[in-house]
Amino acid sequence: MTGSPVESVSGRRSEPPRGMALFAYRAGRMVRTTGPYLTVLGIGAWLLLWWLFSEVWYLPRFEKMPGPVAVLSDLFARDPFQGISIFTDEYYEHIWVSCRRILFAFCIATGVGVPLGLCMGWSVQFRHYTFPILETLRPIPILAWVPLSILMFRGFEAPVIFLATLASLFVTTLNTMLGVQSIDESYFRAAGCLGSNRWQIFRHVVVPGALPFIFTGLQISIGVAWFSLVAAEMVSGDWGLGYLIVDAYMNNVTVPMVIGMITLGFVGWGTSVLVRIAGNRMMQWRTRALALEGR
């Protein structure tokens, strides 16, 4: 590349790379570090152990577990032996139904939890009203809510969404509240002596100051939403990954069960990556400062 403005004669960069050059720089840096190789190695070792335990040595407790060969050959088969593969429509229907429920639950929980947490962190009086209730409801396991949710809501959809919402609501609210409490007092004072009224302090100090905690909370909350969704789908449901797992178990087909579990893992990971990306976009100030520290 001659004449490129990014690299000077000595090979040192005179200005930060952009576009494709930035992509190439990142890819190059990734290939040169050990991280990606270790990840591949780790996954390989894990698959190997799984294969040895369940399909070669048939260790006790592992006899009934389908091995990686059985699972992967079914997962990628056009005509799967046990009914579920990436070529069957049901597979995508299960994923879609679960994702849709998560989307509803996560949006409701965020829409209610963030404002609630902001108010709880900001107003001591409001905290006195609400915090004891939150702390009492929070430790109740989601499974304990199942009977009540079935009594309260009709059909399959509403109770499941209710349970997932409930679980992530508590996490979001608590983290948001802690986020507000973590804001340094001097920002409030600075805003005050620059002439802000209460609403302006809320908008310019409380909300942005709590954002890092809020997004940490949202990442946990989407994970928690998946836990409770699957638990709910196992108890009541007609579709969804949780239902797929328990239905496969009931019908004594173990491969779809494991396919359901692995799929859940990947989809859950994907959603939390999405939340992280959204967070980094909304907090450029933090992303840039952390990048300068090499993180």
Binding site: D184, S186, Y187, R189, A190, A191, G192, C193, L194, G195, S196, N197, Q200, H204, V205, P208, G209, L211, M283, Q284, W285, R286, R288, A289, L292
Partner: protein, 283 residues
Amino acid sequence: MSTAEMSTTARTGAISIRNVTKIYDPEGVNVLAVDDCSLEIGAGEVCMIVGPSGCGKTTLLNAIAGFHSLTFGEIRLDGEVLCDERRPLASQGADRVVVFQNGALFPWKTLGDNVAYGPMVQGTLSKAEAREKARHMLAEAGLGDVAEKYPGEVSSGMARRAEIVRALINDPKVLLLDEPYRAMDALTKSIMHEALLEMYDRTKVTIFFITHDLEEAIFLGDRAVVMTTRPCRVKTIVNVDIPRPRDYHLLSSEEFRVLVEEAKDAVHEEALKAFEAGERELA
């Protein structure tokens, strides 16, 4: 800013602290932080408050700024009562802007938006006008290139300078600085001092500057007020009759040395008392 405006700013900003006493009451034990402290600060004066750490200097600043209440006495700004026994907590307002010890630029706003914040929330300027004025003032302070950066991306020296610009954009009567250069190395500090003096020579705003660095106090101030250790009272006042504008060559001059020595004995005595008392510093 025209000369007419400058002269009006020069005539406002007189602070009068009269018999101020502050008693903290943590866990039922009365702690006397400030005891019957009186001090008159003229309009446009650079008043340096010197004393050992935790002596109650910041308590005084907090009372002026309206962060904490006082227990007895009164504080007036240009003759108007800010706080007294009937109304112990002053209202916070942009006529007295604080620059904080650890820096309080909003990390989630760019330097430009930080500076534009005051006029924007007060409604004195529209958002666009405030931004424009902020960019102009930052450029004047030598920060034109970093106006679009976040505080986390610039050096602490630049951030601190931007924070002073954020205060000055409001045309405050008083600038309250609470050991703003405490964590800086001596070289950065001397650059910060010159920048502050340069801004002072332009605006002539009253400056209430807390420090425990004697050389800083003499270099910047019209007067250095040495405070006693807790309870805080005025011990001695060192008048610094060195003409402005000043630059760092002053630091090696004879008259500067003499003044530092004059203040040093008083400060040392109080520091020793504070150390022997061994009390925990108050905020």
